[in-house]
């Protein structure tokens, strides 16, 4: 059994499992109209296609459904409602105006407002909450990190102060020691100088006395010598 089906979007439609009523006799034409172009000739390319495969699948489903009486009634009601709705569309489409304002407009307004409420409560509020909490947590962590660096700076300053004090102490000690040793060295130097001077003086005095003595002895010797010379020179 073949059936003429007009397809607008080839690829997705081929993949979809839509309900394709394949009725042998149909009072309704299958051509979908391009909206608002009335009286356009039905010169569309008709894609012939074998929907037997789909029919079989649907038959299996239908078999299962029709064997269970409650499911059958439910399916009956569901399809009834589903098909009733487009029937309402029939009447409006007959006019074919392009600016066809009717009850649809306030219904869409109502739907939009309800959608706004629903999205606000389901999407915008929870997601905004999570995002804001995350921002807050990140900000807190950043503030925490900044506090740590203050502490570190304080510790650093303390360390530097200690170092400076220690350095000052050691230099003071060093200076003291230096002064002490210098003083003691000076004292020793003085002492030895004095000793040396004393010894020098003594030695000089010694030499002086020796000189005196030698001079005196020389004098005596000179006297003797001269006496001798005189004795020698002057014979009688």
């Amino acid at each position: 059994m073949e059936r003429v089906v007009n397809m607008r979007v080839a690829a997705p439609a081929a993949l979809s499992m839509a309900v394709i009523p394949c009725r042998a006799s149909s009072a309704r034409s299958s051509s979908g109209r391009v909206p608002a172009i009335r009286g356009a000739a039905d010169q569309k390319v008709r894609v012939r296609y074998n929907c037997a495969f789909f029919q079989e699948a649907l038959q299996n489903v239908a078999l299962k459904v029709s064997q269970n009486p409650t499911v059958r009634k439910a399916a009956f009601l569901a399809m009834n409602t589903l098909w009733a709705i487009p029937a309402i569309a029939e009447e409006a489409e007959e006019k074919g105006k392009i600016f066809d304002f009717n009850l649809t407009l306030p219904i869409i307004v109502a739907e939009f407002l309800l959608l706004m409420l629903a999205l606000d409560n389901l999407w915008f509020k929870p997601v905004a909450k999570v995002m804001d909490e995350r921002d807050e947590a990140i900000r807190q962590k950043l503030m925490g990190v900044r506090d740590n660096s203050d502490e570190i700076k304080k510790l650093q300053e303390q360390a530097e102060a200690i170092l400076k004090a220690a350095r000052a102490e050691t230099t003071a000690e060093l200076n003291k020691m230096r002064r002490e040793t210098a003083a003691s060295l000076d004292a020793k130097l003085q002492e030895s100088r004095q000793r040396v001077e004393k010894e020098l003086a003594e030695a000089l005095a010694n030499l002086e006395s020796q000189k005196e003595e030698t001079l005196r002895s020389l004098d005596k010797q000179v006297q003797e010598l001269s006496d001798q010379i005189v004795a020698k020179v002057i014979p009688f």
Partner: protein, 235 residues
């Protein structure tokens, strides 16, 4: 045949809803769009974690995008309450347009008319535009009270008729740009497919995806801009 037993009696005298008509195909497709838009966050917010992955990442990105869009147009202090409105505007138009282009609606045959994007109907687009109008009026009045009406004589009183006209042209232009874009894209693709169904319509379809996404962004941005403008006043 088993199927035929299940085929129901069609209602042969189509009844009207209280003698006013309804474009049922628009309602059907808009219900599908709403179902998609509600299913996504329900699935994605099952298990919200601090470090997001996968679907949660995606919905956070979308929320961030919408917030950024609203904040750019309205300023830092007062954008928060309007995020749901602008977000719903953007998401509903975006999903409507892309569902019309991507989902195989024509496979489901209706007795009269056909299923397509809900935004190809003038009712939907005018509904959204009127909502935007009401929103920016409400924003202006709520924020500035009756001095809001001072904006009509703002730069100079000579421009009063133009300012009043603006209140009509804003919703008109919003509705028509969306309606025209989507309907025209559908018509062109339908004609191309009826002529050469195989490869040739595909670039047109891709262009249609791109422009319909841009239209969603434009509608949302303009709505936010009008609301922001009426809250801050002409300075």
């Amino acid at each position: 045949m088993q199927i035929e037993q299940l085929q129901i009696f069609e209602i042969d005298n189509p009844h009207q809803v209280s003698s006013v008509e309804v474009h049922a195909q628009v309602l059907i497709t808009s219900w599908v769009v709403i179902a998609l838009l509600i299913a996504l966050p329900v699935v994605a917010t099952r298990n919200l974690q601090t470090i997001p992955t996968g679907l949660q990442n995606f919905i956070e990105y979308v929320l961030e995008f919408i917030r950024d869009l609203t904040r750019t147009q309205m300023g830092e202090e007062e954008y928060r309450p309007w995020v749901p409105f602008i977000g719903t505007m953007f998401l509903s138009i975006f999903v409507s347009n892309w569902s019309g282009a991507l989902l195989p609606w024509r496979v489901i045959q209706l007795p009269h008319g056909e299923l397509a994007a809900p935004t190809n109907d003038i009712n939907t687009t005018v509904a959204l535009a009127l909502l935007t109008s009401v929103a920016y009026f409400y924003a202006g009045l709520h924020k500035r009270g009756f001095s809001y009406f001072g904006k009509y004589i703002q730069p100079t009183p000579v421009l009063l008729p133009i300012n009043i006209l603006e209140d009509f042209t804003k919703p008109l232009s919003l509705s028509f740009q969306l309606f025209g874009n989507i309907l025209a894209d559908e018509l062109v693709v339908a004609v191309l497919v009826s002529l050469v169904p195989l490869i040739v319509p595909v670039p047109m379809m891709l262009l249609g995806l791109f422009t319909s996404a841009i239209q969603a962004l434009i509608s949302a941005t303009l709505a936010a801009a009008y609301i922001g403008e009426s809250m801050e006043g002409h300075h």
